[in-house]
């Protein structure tokens, strides 16, 4: 097999783009939270796993297809995130950044271990879609296509919400300058709750999509949060669109490294990219320079 054949390159590119779309959806939510309230939510990937395990339970108990369970899980996690902000995160907003890091780290530990109590450490998956689409010489995996496209649609949807609607503009205003936004009559607390709810819902949706392509267990979050950090630092912390680019970039890089070198190295790419970016620009490439 010659790796430089155009079909194989195209195949790797498509796989990378599809995986990247999922990363982008997940990291976009994390960056939205950081932009609006300067909180790095270490538990973000655990919200994703709530979505994944939600899809798993709905599939195994009610036989619900993950695409349908999105309609239940996304609103449910939105509500969880909305009140989570009110009960917990609101208390650490404006405190030193490390307070929020430690608090969300605590939440992450709790969620992982509650997950282990309920679901044990076995790997789970939701095998609904199998096989591949054949387009000429290319074979594109069905579950990856569905997960990638749904993720892309959701990210674009959130982008349009932020750009076009009044509420979205309010979110951006709080992200740019909370005090000025407050003076202009925006209910900043409400916007923060909305933002966390939205970010959690995006993570949850990413989790449902994850459930159809990967197997997962309650400890899976660590790999993903690592990737998310790499993505938001590459794309610019607090910059929603930057996270989308960063996610897609990481997906493509991983796919090519996986194809040409080995999958073990592909797993290490996020960390290597992160370290490389941090060494070039100790405050991150774009976005909020000083937290």
């Amino acid at each position: 097999m010659d790796l430089l054949e155009p079909e194989i390159l195209l195949q790797l590119l498509i796989n990378g783009l599809l995986a990247g779309a999922l990363y982008a959806l997940l990291a976009g939510g994390l960056n939205l939270i950081f932009g609006v309230m300067r909180v790095i939510n270490i538990a973000h990937a655990e919200f994703m796993l709530i979505g994944a395990f939600g899809a798993y339970v709905l599939f195994n108990v009610f036989g619900l297809h993950p695409l349908l369970s999105l309609l239940i899980i996304v609103p449910a996690i939105f509500v969880v995130g909305y009140y989570f902000q009110r009960v917990l995160i609101e208390r650490v907003v404006g405190r030193p950044m490390l307070t929020s890091l430690l608090a969300t780290y605590g939440v992450s530990i709790i969620l992982i271990n509650v997950g282990l109590l309920i679901f044990s450490a076995d790997f789970k998956s939701v095998p609904v879609l199998q096989g591949s689409f054949l387009v000429g010489e290319l074979a594109i995996s069905k579950p990856r296509t569905v997960a990638g496209l749904v993720s892309l649609i959701l990210s674009v949807g959130v982008y349009l919400f932020l750009e076009r609607t009044r509420l979205g503009k309010a979110v951006r205003a709080v992200s740019e300058h909370a005090q000025v936004a407050q003076i202009c009559g925006i209910d900043v607390r409400q916007i923060r709750m909305l933002t966390f709810g939205m970010a959690a819902a995006m993570a949850g949706a990413a989790g449902v999509m994850l459930s159809i392509i990967y197997s997962f267990w309650p400890g899976s979050g660590v790999d993903f949060i690592q990737k998310c950090f790499a993505i938001i630092i590459i794309g610019g912390m607090g910059n929603f669109v930057g996270a989308l680019y960063g996610g897609i970039l990481l997906g493509v890089v991983e796919s090519f490294v996986g194809g040409f070198i080995s999958t073990q190295w592909a797993e290490a790419m996020a960390y290597l990219l992160l370290v490389a970016v941090l060494l070039i620009r100790p405050t991150g490439l774009k976005g909020v320079a000083r937290a």
Binding site: I40, L88, R91, V92, P96, M97, L98, T99, L101, L102, A103, Y105, G106, V107, S108, I109, I110, I112, N113, V114, L116, L117, V222, I225, Q226, F229, I233, Q264, E267, A268, Y271, L274, V275, L278, L279, P282, T283, G284, A291
Partner: protein, 318 residues
């Protein structure tokens, strides 16, 4: 500032505790001796974390990596025929050597960026230990032959010495100019730089010292359990434990990690017996409660009682 009286209380309390710890093997059975050894282990690790994160405010989420490196280095040197005490020193040395370039690279990162960069370190250690099969035997792990190992008493006193050494190091730094400069970095790094503090040298020195201790502790741990593998040497839970213990007791203080370690270990031991799977979740709850309601840790309660000054506030957790 603690006055002379308070310092005398500290010194006396410390002496009594160390005396009791030294006599303990005469009076307790092996189970309690093992438990105490683990308390010393946690104290030493917590003091190491306290040195970099409590004092400078650079919160490390990956410090357990140095423990893992020390565990592997100690185990390997022991199997290569070095005496146990030299293997421990070499374990500490390897961890400290590794910390020099790592410190120069990562400590340029401010606040959350440093925390994020360190979060992956333990994971990288685990991957390297798994993949470098020719040295580490990969996932199979290293088994240490019992003939090479020192007795439980030796390991107990070594661990006690490490906990004591780490604590004295912290106490000394706390009162020295070096400690003052580290706290200046925590409060406002730019301002510290402006008044002539060599921030890079101080941060890297603190980082290397704080890697040395877990390196030695890891080597003793490998001898204590006589078997290590990538999962046990680079255990993510150990990071959590260090952070929770220091914050619970009081970060940036000398007594905080000791009080924290004793309390958390006793709570953990009780939870372990009752609900084996829930103890980590309990540590998470503890972390959350401390961060939200007790940012100065347990030590701050005592302090406030003593001082009763209207303007005395518990220290902000870094």
């Amino acid at each position: 500032m603690p006055d002379l009286n308070q310092r005398m209380i500290s010194v006396w309390a410390g002496t009594v505790l160390v005396g009791l710890a030294m006599l303990a093997p005469l009076g307790v059975n092996e189970y309690y001796q093992s438990f105490l050894l683990q308390v010393f282990l946690v104290i030493a690790l917590a003091q190491a974390w306290n040195l970099i994160s409590g004092m400078t405010g650079y919160v490390s989420f990956g410090h357990a990596a140095f423990f893992g490196v020390g565990a592997y280095a100690g185990a390997l040197f022991l199997t290569w025929g070095f005496p146990w005490w030299l293997a421990i020193l070499k374990g500490a040395g390897v961890a400290a050597l590794l910390a020099v370039p790592l410190g120069f690279l990562t400590l340029r990162l401010r606040g959350p960026y440093f925390a994020i960069a360190m979060l992956g370190l333990n994971e990288v250690g685990r991957i390297v230990a798994t993949l470098w099969v020719s040295l580490t035997k990969g996932g199979t792990g290293l088994t240490l032959s019992p003939t090479l190992l020192p007795s439980l008493d030796v390991k107990y006193f070594t661990m006690l010495a490490l906990a004591l050494g780490a604590t004295l190091l912290i106490a000394w730094i706390h009162r020295s100019r070096f400690g003052l400069e580290l706290r200046a970095i925590r409060e406002d790094e730019e301002a510290a730089e402006m008044v002539g503090v060599n921030t890079t040298r101080n941060k890297v020195t603190a980082f290397v010292l704080s890697a040395l201790i877990p390196g030695a502790v890891g080597a003793v741990y490998a001898m204590y359990t006589s078997y290590i593998n990538p999962a046990s040497a680079f255990d993510h839970a150990r990071n959590i434990e260090m952070i929770v213990v220091v914050l619970f007791g009081g970060s940036g203080t000398v007594w905080g990690p000791i009080i924290g370690a004793a309390t958390v270990m006793v709570i953990r031991e009780m939870l372990w017996a009752q609900f084996p799977a829930a103890h980590l979740a309990a540590l998470g709850v503890l972390l959350l409660v401390v961060v939200l309601y007790l940012p100065g840790g347990l030590v701050s309660i005592v302090r406030e009682r003593q001082q009763k000054r209207p303007d005395a506030r518990p220290g902000e957790s870094p």
